[in-house]
Amino acid sequence: MTPLRVPKQQVAGLLTALLDQYQVIAPVEEEGLVTFGRLGSPEEAVLDYRNARVSPKGLLFPQAEVLLTYNLASERAELQEAPQQQERQVVFGIRPCDARSFVLLDRVFEGNAWHDGYYLSRRRNTTVVALACPRPGLACFCASVGGGPFSTEGSDLLLTDLGQEYLLEVVTDKGAALTEAWSEYGEAGEDSLRRKAELQQGAEAALAGRVEIDGIDRRLKGMWDDVFWERLHEKCLGCGVCTYLCPTCHCFDIVDEGSDRQGQRLRLWDSCMFPLFTRQASGHNPRPTGKERWRQRLMHKFCYSVDSYGEVGCVGCGRCVVNCPVNLDLRHVLNEICSDRTHQGT
């Protein structure tokens, strides 16, 4: 389908039309903090942003969700599965790195072995309108991990800010369906497409070579006992900033809350950086220190993920880099793993 041009003054109208039919999630700002929030009106959307502090993964995989409720108060036990999301949502204006994170999450929650109905009901009801990233942030490295600032992976539609107007490109049938009712936008001309190509080239050039991770999975496989792990974690606080802000970290815990008669079963985000993550009922913890936890986090993202899905489990959004309270910079850790200095043996 031919790309369309959406003049900026018409974006409010477009969002209004979407709001009639969908729950619309977009970047919103409060006290200088950009997050993804449910739009009440079009003017709340902040589209001239770099990226939101918190990733959009919670839109598909909430931090806490009820899986089922139980009640043993009556004659027989009652189990009630939580209703799955039916409401259709449009995620508007997320960056290509975040859109791509949905594809990585799909591989986990819609894997060969298991289909997660809770996730998938949200995913199926979600249409992603991504906003290309002409000015990547200082800590961004999407192009080093298989993505790109104009990547369409995970997006149904892609918008590119051309100054006075947005270029609107249809990526999937789902995206095409969304645009069916939009007759008011004209086709984009050669100029617009050329401008987009320039922006894309500029952004890609800015990102080139930021992190070099060629063959990182193989390197990690040979590093299990490397002294590298002994010191890497030393400054780490062991908090969950990196994993909770990460768009692709997806580990969870399942807990029951309530009494022995009635209550609910919840699924909660969990973090491999927490001691409780692997503590067993006996009290034994197979990952007793930051050393084992950091090794796990990197192995999972950059080795096991490659084994399982053929790609690293990182989209290079840079949130963990920017927000780590002690500036333990993942980019430097990756570069160090891939430099020949690292491997000092055991």
Binding site: E31, G32, L33, V34, T35, D48, Y49, R50, R53, V54, Q63, A64, R135, G137, L138, A139, R231, E234, K235, L237, G238, C239, G240, V241, Y244, L245, D253, V255, E257, L266, L268, S271, F274, P275, L276, V321, V322, N323, P325, V326, N327, L328, D329, R331, H332
Partner: protein, 316 residues
């Protein structure tokens, strides 16, 4: 490089070379503008990594209970008070730590600078005498350091370390006589409903990452109450009940111990005003127990002591 940084390097090199410490905990240059990063130096030849500037925002005392070697530590005023706290609470032996005290001019609040720039990305920052020069795409602004001090540094009255083995740099003037708790009084004066709404709004942003807890030099429990599952003291959702209870319990656990270093506040990725509760505790402890945490090795801990003369007004 500043004279203070050079003096820190020289001291660290000497301590390591003489075998007086096994490790020096200090700061190294960060990887992003306005950032520095804690570092552990074990080799006397490696001390040139150490830096000192107004982005050295972490409280390094946090690492002491977890380091088993004899450690030298670069300590600002608040880090030094935290070390006093660890010593008086029996979490650290005096002979196991060598304190390199550094009089502190305050730490920059990078979030405040980011807010000032309204989303424009800082690509480079350079600290001058009274200003910090920040540059980015199409802008270059000199910002007053004083105006962008972290809130805990504005309230600070102990910029000079209260405990040290070596003092590096000249002592600095302590804060003026202005009301140290003006912020708390202002908040106390608000109607209860407004205060409640404020806490709800602030904690609604919390993602339970525990960065505030883990950055705290006095949060050293081997198992935090939040991590106990039998019994489960606290729900782990982001429901306002769970989140508020977490923040209230965290604040109460540091009552009479918190030195208001602000490390919790700076660690929070969501900018939650986590000091609001601890500040109130601090003020109340000072009022009711005449105690300011971490100022003296000899003073008994207010919540771990008693006297027969203790007022019992609260017993009705």
């Amino acid at each position: 490089m500043t004279d203070v940084a050079q003096a820190i390097r020289d001291t660290a090199r000497r301590l390591l070379a003489d075998g007086r410490v096994d490790v020096v905990i200090g700061f190294e240059a960060g990887t992003l503008p306005l950032r520095s990063s804690p570092c552990f130096v074990r080799d006397a030849g490696d001390t040139d990594r150490l830096v000192w500037n107004m982005t050295c925002e972490n409280n390094l005392a946090r690492y002491l209970p977890r380091v088993e070697e004899k450690a030298g530590i670069v300590a600002k005023g608040c880090d030094a008070r935290s070390i006093v706290g660890l010593l008086t609470e029996g979490r650290l032996e005096r002979e196991r730590v060598y304190v390199i005290g550094v009089p502190c001019q305050g730490i920059l609040d990078r979030r405040s600078i980011e807010r000032r720039l309204a989303g424009k990305e800082i690509v480079q920052a350079q600290e001058g005498e009274t200003e910090v020069l920040v540059r980015g795409e199409g802008f270059e602004v000199a910002l007053s350091k004083e105006e962008h001090l972290h809130a805990s540094c504005r309230a600070c009255r102990s910029r000079n370390p209260v405990i040290y083995d070596t003092l590096v740099g000249d002592p600095v003037a302590e804060g003026d006589g202005a009301d140290e708790y003006a912020d708390v009084r202002e908040f106390e004066a608000k109607p209860a409903a407004e205060r409640w709404a404020y806490f709800l709004a602030q904690t609604s942003r919390c993602i339970r990452c525990y960065a505030c807890r883990n950055a705290c030099p006095l949060c050293y429990c081997r198992t935090c109450f939040t991590d106990v599952t039998q019994p489960q003291w606290l729900g782990r959702t982001t429901d306002p009940t769970d989140t508020l209870v977490f923040h209230i319990a965290r604040a109460l656990h540091v009552a009479g111990r918190c030195v208001d270093c602000g490390a919790c506040d700076r660690a929070c990725p969501l900018g939650v005003d986590v000091r609001k509760l601890t500040r109130k505790m601090e003020k109340d402890v000072e009022k009711f127990f005449h105690h300011k945490a971490g100022m003296s090795l000899d003073e008994p801990l207010p919540l771990a002591t008693y006297s027969l003369d203790d007022p019992e007004d609260f017993v009705q």
